[in-house]
């Protein structure tokens, strides 16, 4: 029995290999509602990249100069803006903006990613597409210092003015140094020798 089984298993693997290779070389969008949705959007926006992450989650990558055009197009399918989140890639000198969209009609969540340089970061506002973007843009502006051109209410919002100047969510913001200057050093948590360490 053993002698017979072993070659069979080997044969099966050999059979599968040629089938897998073309899939890896040319990733196709799956034949699901997510795949169709992505294909539909990409057809109108060939400059973008798109793929399906998993069920109900799709992803687009768009160059920064065409983001507004793309979002306007995508807003036909994705009616709702859930959030604008920012990732600080310090070593690459870039901010990554992730516009999270939700399609009410299809129940699909989309990430639209774009990268902009960290120095004098600027983006066009998307308030005219989704008015709710005002709040998210103010927040991103406050914590990372990105300027959204066309948003009339950029300025101190959640943070105290002193924190606002420093943009505390940037990776190069020295939190401990800031804490020491603002809240004082007379406090055993900062004991570097850890003789009086609390937690």
């Amino acid at each position: 029995m053993d002698m017979n089984e072993k070659p069979k298993v080997g044969e099966k693997i050999e059979d599968q290999k040629p089938q897998e290779v073309p899939e890896v070389e040319a990733p196709k969008l799956p034949d699901t509602k997510e795949g169709k949705l992505v294909a539909e959007v990409l057809e109108k926006a060939p400059y973008a990249e798109g793929n399906v992450r998993r069920e109900r989650r799709v992803e687009f990558k768009v160059p920064a100069d065409r983001i507004k055009e793309f979002l306007e197009l995508a807003s036909e399918k994705f009616e709702m803006l859930i959030q604008i989140s920012v990732v600080d890639w310090l070593k690459e000198g870039e901010f990554e903006l992730v516009y999270q969209l939700w399609s009410v009609s299809e129940s699909v969540h989309a990430f639209v990613r774009t990268r902009i340089p960290r120095e004098n970061a600027k983006m066009p506002t998307v308030m005219d597409i989704w008015p709710v973007a005002e709040t998210y843009e103010r927040e991103a502006h406050e914590f990372f210092g990105i300027v959204f051109e066309g948003n009339p209410r950029l300025g101190p919002f959640i943070l105290e003015p002193r924190e606002y100047e420093k943009h505390p969510f940037r990776k190069d913001f020295n939190t401990l140094g800031y804490v020491k200057t603002i809240y004082g050093e007379d406090f055993d948590r900062y004991d570097e020798s850890k003789t009086n360490y609390v937690i």
């Binding site: 924190e163 939190t175 804490v179 603002i182 809240y183 406090f187 948590r189 609390v198 937690i199």
Partner: protein
């Protein structure tokens, strides 16, 4: 005016009623009204504390929305500079005698937010504290224990934070001004005037 002795708990205001002092202390201890201003995570310990299981009303403790009528101020968790401004204003609105109880390690020394840019590390630099409960976060039993401790302290007259605040006002004021900048009260008041 005659010379006033500040070292006694009640006589500060009611010298002529000194005879009834023990009675007043007992009454104060038995009718603590909490200022319902829950900051931070500890606020979530209040519902179990107030409802059937721990039911703090059996001790005569009541949550109370008006700071002018409250006398126990619970600081239930981390305090940010922005909240601290409101806490200080609320505390100053409260009538004497008033007691402060802080929950958890955050107000004591920053807790898990010890290196966060917007959590106040030592609450007792800005307002006097009567009882501090350690833990992150303290269970309702611990909070009850803290309240019992406050009751005991009221009875023997050692819960004197409100008095310390008067006596060392310069110290507290200095620390507050260092954190918020001079003139923060006026600036804040001006900001909210439009809504009043």
């Amino acid at each position: 005016m005659s010379e006033r002795k500040n070292d006694d708990f009640i006589s500060y205001e009611l010298q002529e009623f000194k005879l009834f002092e023990p009675l007043f202390r007992w009454a104060r201890k038995k009718s603590l009204w909490i200022v319902a201003f829950c900051t931070g995570c500890g606020g979530i310990e209040m519902p179990p504390l107030a409802t059937a299981r721990y039911d703090f009303e059996r001790f005569g403790i009541m949550p109370n929305p008006a700071p002018r009528m409250g006398d126990l101020f619970l600081i239930t968790g981390y305090v940010t500079p922005k909240t601290l401004k409101r806490i200080i204003i609320t505390y100053e609105m409260m009538q004497d005698p008033k007691y402060v109880l802080i929950h958890g390690s955050c107000p004591i020394n920053g807790g898990v937010y010890w290196d966060s840019y917007n959590v106040v590390k030592q609450f007792d630099k800005y307002l006097p504290v009567d009882v501090a409960i350690a833990g992150c976060m303290p269970r309702p039993e611990a909070v009850m224990d803290g309240i019992m401790e406050i009751m005991r302290k009221i009875e023997d007259g050692t819960a004197d934070g409100w008095k310390r605040y008067r006596e060392n006002y310069e110290y507290y004021r200095k620390n507050q001004d260092e954190l918020f900048g001079e003139g923060w009260r006026e600036k804040d008041a001006r900001r909210w005037l439009a809504w009043i």
